[in-house]
């Protein structure tokens, strides 16, 4: 406890002794839900920190405008820049401009294309996409075990759009988890795409139910599809206590479904945490500290046990 106080006192001391640090932030767009959560995380973190002042600008999804904003930040002498890229293929020019001026640059949420060649003093803060599907699948496996089904269980998987990286990754995560010794009691009956859509998932699940094959778990690559499956199962009179249903995103619809005892597992991408983490990383870079080039903000598992932390 003493250590905590000392650390707190120390940061306050440092905060007051140093000049206020100016950080320029360019966000791809202000009207995007997820990015707004991230932006609010930044301003909340700014208020907690002493001596940090943010200037947040909206790039309105315009690549050229974003580069102008960065050059304006450099010209006005900010101490660091945080960029949520409009187009991740256009980050090379931003990296070059910041490196030439010697201003630290942090990319947040969207991975820059020049990740492998990022100059000194630049970093990327995001969540590791591999975690989301793995966390959900593993929790489902644990829950099936806890329900005494470790002798053998069957599952269906609803995949997102097959051309989408997140869908491919989360489906692979599920396969990886049920390939583990601890979870290989789970047999995948079938996997099909429902294109992230609740309606398609509802119809697909009803088709599966019509085959009469008994099943213990349904994994959706996102919450919407998991909710579609739940609606289909409820319509077919299947008790939601008998099936473990998992998704990814922790949307408010999914959280309320979990609260009602239907959905069992989902995963929360901590966008506010990404926003706060990008500021911490920028400050560390300003102070010349050693920073990993990629800073991962962990996904958070949501189950009925901790759902209270996520419901507003």
């Amino acid at each position: 406890m003493n250590k905590l106080f000392m650390a707190a006192g120390l940061t306050m001391l440092m905060g007051t002794s140093a000049m206020a640090q100016q950080i320029g932030v360019s966000v791809a767009r202000f009207d995007d839900n997820g990015l707004t959560v991230m932006r609010n995380g930044m301003t909340a973190h700014e208020e907690m920190l002493d001596g940090v002042s943010l200037q947040i600008e909206d790039a309105t999804d315009d690549v050229a405008k974003q580069l102008d904003q960065i050059n304006n930040f450099i010209a006005s002498g900010v101490d660091a820049i945080i960029v949520n890229a409009v187009d991740t293929n256009a980050t090379e020019a931003m990296s070059n401009a910041a490196a030439a001026a010697g201003v630290p640059l942090v990319y947040v949420n969207r991975q820059p294309v020049n990740m492998d060649t990022l100059p000194e003093g630049q970093a990327f803060v995001a969540s590791n996409e591999i975690e989301s599907g793995t966390l959900a699948a593993f929790q489902m496996c644990r829950q099936l075990r806890a329900e005494g089904k470790s002798g053998g269980a069957t599952a269906y998987m609803l995949m997102g759009q097959l051309s989408n990286q997140a869908a491919v990754q989360r489906s692979k995560d599920f396969h990886d988890v049920i390939g583990m010794d601890m979870c290989n009691f789970i047999t995948l009956i079938d996997e099909q795409t429902a294109n992230w859509s609740r309606d398609e998932a509802n119809d697909l699940m009803t088709n599966w139910i019509s085959s009469g094959e008994p099943f213990d778990a349904v994994f959706g690559n996102n919450d919407e599809m998991a909710l579609g499956a739940i609606q289909a199962m409820k319509a077919a009179g299947i008790s939601m206590d008998d099936v473990v249903v998992g998704g990814v995103d922790a949307t408010s619809d999914a959280l309320l479904s979990m609260q009602a005892g239907e959905m069992d597992v989902t995963v929360f991408q901590d966008l506010a945490g990404q926003g706060a983490g990008s500021i911490d990383t920028a400050i560390a870079l300003i102070n010349g500290e050693e920073v990993d080039q990629t800073v991962f903000i962990p996904f958070k598992l949501v189950t009925p046990d901790n759902i209270g932390d996520f419901l507003q």
Binding site: D31, D32, N33, M159, L162, D190, E191, Q192, T193, W196, S197, R198, D199, N202, D203, L204, T206, N207, W208, I209, S210, S211, G212, E224, L227, G228, Q231, A235, A236, T251, S252, D253, L256, Q259, A260, Q312
Partner: protein, 357 residues
């Protein structure tokens, strides 16, 4: 080898030149596809597609599968009833999917419930005045938005002489923009109990089949129907015989828009949510149903019954693929081949029939 017989009124007719109604051909294709799936199912799954091979039901059929085959095509089928009429006038409607998206968002905003799990509705779009409204409000809003889009399509096609493809392409982009702008991409969820009943269970099927029967009669036994076919067969002749072609076209597009609006209401009710991406590519599926059902894109030919059978064919194929557990990657490839194959077969039969006549 013509075998002439005595017909009514002393007229003779040639039996060999008698044609089957086109719907019978489409129906035969449906039966053929079912048989193919039954054979593949018996070989690879040791199960039956339509019959109860596991003794789960009291009847001889797998009722759960029969139901889902129709449920999954009912909502797009409602759109296809309108699209069929548009195509019969030699037009096309590319906007129906996006109109579903826009209507879904707008109608659902008037169908929201005040309380969810004991707390306030986290997705409420408007203030308290728009919560817990009677069901009739969102339904009328949905129909209204759909019909408004339809009127705009119709006026553009009929009076400004913009080709239907372009006019409805414009509406397709515009309506999708409206859907995304309405709540800035946020889903609109949690409808009232009354609204949730509209699309629950077999309701989409009941509404689809009722509308099909209604429009079958309208198309065959009313002036509206005769005029629609007349315009599609020969627009100049229709005009010269005194049909107010522009006014009739607006009416046709208005009906198509209204049906798309109704489909959006049922879709949001069934899913208990509205999302800006809803209805994506529904216009193409609706056109596919009509075309598989024998509706000619050149106009003047086709029927509501044909479109309903076309919808059932898509439903059987979708359920059949899942039944056979065909890999997700292959499903769309096979579906594409079937649609082109169906139309090619239809064209070939038309040619053969024309050559015989």
């Amino acid at each position: 080898m013509s075998d002439t017989s005595e017909g009514t009124g002393g007229l003779t007719y040639d039996k060999s030149k008698r044609q089957w109604p086109n719907e019978l051909n489409v129906f035969a294709a449906l039966i053929l596809i079912v048989i193919i799936f039954e054979i593949l199912g018996a070989i690879f799954m040791q199960q039956s597609l339509l019959f109860d091979s596991r003794d789960r039901f009291d009847s001889i059929f797998n009722e759960a599968r029969l139901r889902i085959i129709i449920i999954q095509v009912a909502i797009i089928g409602i759109i296809a009833i309108g699209v069929t009429q548009v195509i019969i006038t030699a037009g096309i409607d590319l906007s129906s999917g996006s109109v579903v998206g826009a209507t879904a968002m707008i109608a659902m905003s008037f169908a929201q419930v005040a309380e969810v799990n004991g707390g306030p509705n986290p997705k409420a779009i408007f203030g308290d005045w728009a919560l817990d409204l009677p069901v009739v409000v969102p339904v009328l809003v949905g129909l209204g938005v759909g019909m408004l889009a339809g009127i705009i399509n119709g006026v553009l096609v009929a009076y400004s002489r913009i080709p239907p493809f372009i006019a409805t392409l414009g509406m397709m982009l515009f309506a999708r923009g409206v859907a995304q702008w309405w709540s800035l991409g946020n889903p609109v969820s949690f409808p009232t109990e009354g609204y949730a009943k509209i699309g629950a269970g077999m309701m989409p099927v009941i509404i689809f089949l009722s509308l099909a029967v209604l429009f079958h009669f309208i198309m065959n036994y009313t002036v509206y129907g005769k005029h629609t076919y007349a315009i599609g067969s020969n627009e100049a002749a229709a005009r010269m015989s005194g049909i107010n072609v522009p006014r009739h076209l607006v009416l046709v597009y208005l009906i198509a828009g209204g049906l798309a609006g109704l489909a959006a209401v049922i879709l949001t009710s069934k899913n208990l949510t509205a999302q800006s991406g809803m209805g994506l590519s529904y216009e193409l599926e609706a056109i596919a149903m009509a075309v598989i059902g024998g509706v000619s894109l050149f106009g003047g030919r086709g029927s509501i019954i044909g479109t309903v059978i076309g919808a059932l064919i898509i439903g059987v194929i979708t359920s059949g693929f899942t039944f056979l557990r065909l890999g997700a990657y292959y499903q769309e490839m096979v579906l594409g081949c079937i649609i082109v194959g169906a139309v090619a077969l239809d064209q070939w039969q038309q040619k053969r029939a024309a050559a015989r006549a």
